[in-house]
Amino acid sequence: MRKQASNSFYAYLRRDLLLSYRRLGEAASPLIFFVMASTLVPLGMTPDLASLAKIAPGIIWVLALLATMLSVGGLFAGDYQDGSLEQLLISPQILVMPVLGKVTAHWLITGLPLTLVSPLLGLMLSMPEAGYLPMMASLALGTACLSLLGAVGAALTVSLHKGGMLLALIVMPLYMPVIIFGGATVQYGIDGLIWTAPLAILGAMLAAAIALCPLAIASVLRLTSIN
């Protein structure tokens, strides 16, 4: 029996999770970066709780963005180097489902853990309690957007040997709306405003990204393989 399209989604999801599980150290590095960098903020700027509380939402969002961007570059690199990507391109199936599976795995490995440890960072940066729930909600939706958008950049730069800088240049402008509304959600929560409004926009962005990014990634991967 030939594998179905939904199966290829789960197959890639499972394989990428298994691969990260076998290399836990590498898989955990975005999370470690996230936590370590945030501990440096009070040391480098000011230990004053009131001033820290003011910048906490922005700092946490910037670090989450950088942590995602650092890890997303490797999304297709391994598959490109060992020939699995070529096998995927010539396999008799629609590319979108495996691609979505890979991005989902990336979010489960980076975005979800970042979201889950973010209250710890909030505590370290003495963020007001009212900001915790908006922060976790916005990070959960926002990091998924970041994974999807970053994967487009990763697909574009996969055939370049040192594509890191180019990836950052491609992906940064795409990340800006996400960080604007993500940071706003947390700030609204702290200020006692209706924080679900910017969160809804983040949700809309994610819905659009889920619909469009896999298509973009699939066609970019086809293009890069042609040369």
């Binding site: 029996m1 594998k3 020939g83 699995s84 008799p92 393989s225």
Partner: protein
């Protein structure tokens, strides 16, 4: 007009940066044939194979599969081919068994996978991560795909790399068994094959023609 060939190539050309890398005017491949693509390094053997697998798009010309253009019956064609390239697509962090289950295009039973690994002399290695295996053993893991696949067309790019003498014999046996049971093989290698009925196809890219006038 008889039955159309399994693969027919007509006036195929592939250019990269204004250089013709592959130029193939006429080529037929029928069921039961082994075609050995030969040529010096850089003459376009891999490019020809990649054109055949649709990983590359030709600049000119067509490839016909059972008389139909492969662009028209893409999915049907792709599910009938198996390509093993230089990069074997073996994931080093996965075990041999996981790799095979993962790479197969159809649902496989665990026993089928273990049988294939055993046939390639990897009995007892099925649950060891592939990075612990030697280069030749990793190549055998990749080649075990041949035994669990139901594709009729095999495209093998330098499949003998890193294989020992027994491995070479085993692979030659696999190829002759495959063609006698209704398949066809295109293999790019420098090695002399000890198999009955191998047809040779020399390729010589224009790059080289220019380099040695």
């Amino acid at each position: 007009m008889g039955h159309p060939s399994l693969i027919t190539i007509e006036n195929l050309r592939f250019e990269r940066d204004d250089t013709t890398v592959v130029s193939c005017d006429q080529l037929h491949l029928d069921v039961g044939e082994i075609l050995q693509v030969e040529g010096p390094n850089g003459s376009g053997k891999t490019t020809l194979l990649r054109l055949l697998t649709t990983a590359l798009q030709p600049s000119e010309g067509t490839i016909l599969y059972c008389g139909k253009s492969i662009a028209q019956c893409r999915l049907e064609y792709l599910s009938d081919i198996l390509f093993i390239g230089h990069q074997s697509a073996v994931k080093l962090m996965l075990t041999a068994e996981e790799n095979l289950l993962w790479m197969a295009t159809s649902e496989l039973s665990s026993t089928a996978v273990l049988d294939a690994l055993e046939a390639l002399g990897l009995a007892g290695y099925s649950d060891i991560p592939c990075y612990k295996l030697s280069a030749g053993q990793q190549r055998r893991v990749a080649l075990a795909r041949l035994l669990v696949s139901d594709a009729r067309l095999w495209y093998l790019d330098e499949p003998f790399t890193a294989l020992d003498r027994d491995g070479v014999k085993l692979l030659e046996w696999c190829m002759s068994d495959h063609v006698s049971s209704g398949g066809a093989v295109v293999v790019a290698t420098h090695q002399d094959l000890d198999v009955q009925g191998v047809r040779h196809y020399p390729v010589l890219g224009e790059t080289l023609l220019r380099a040695c006038p």
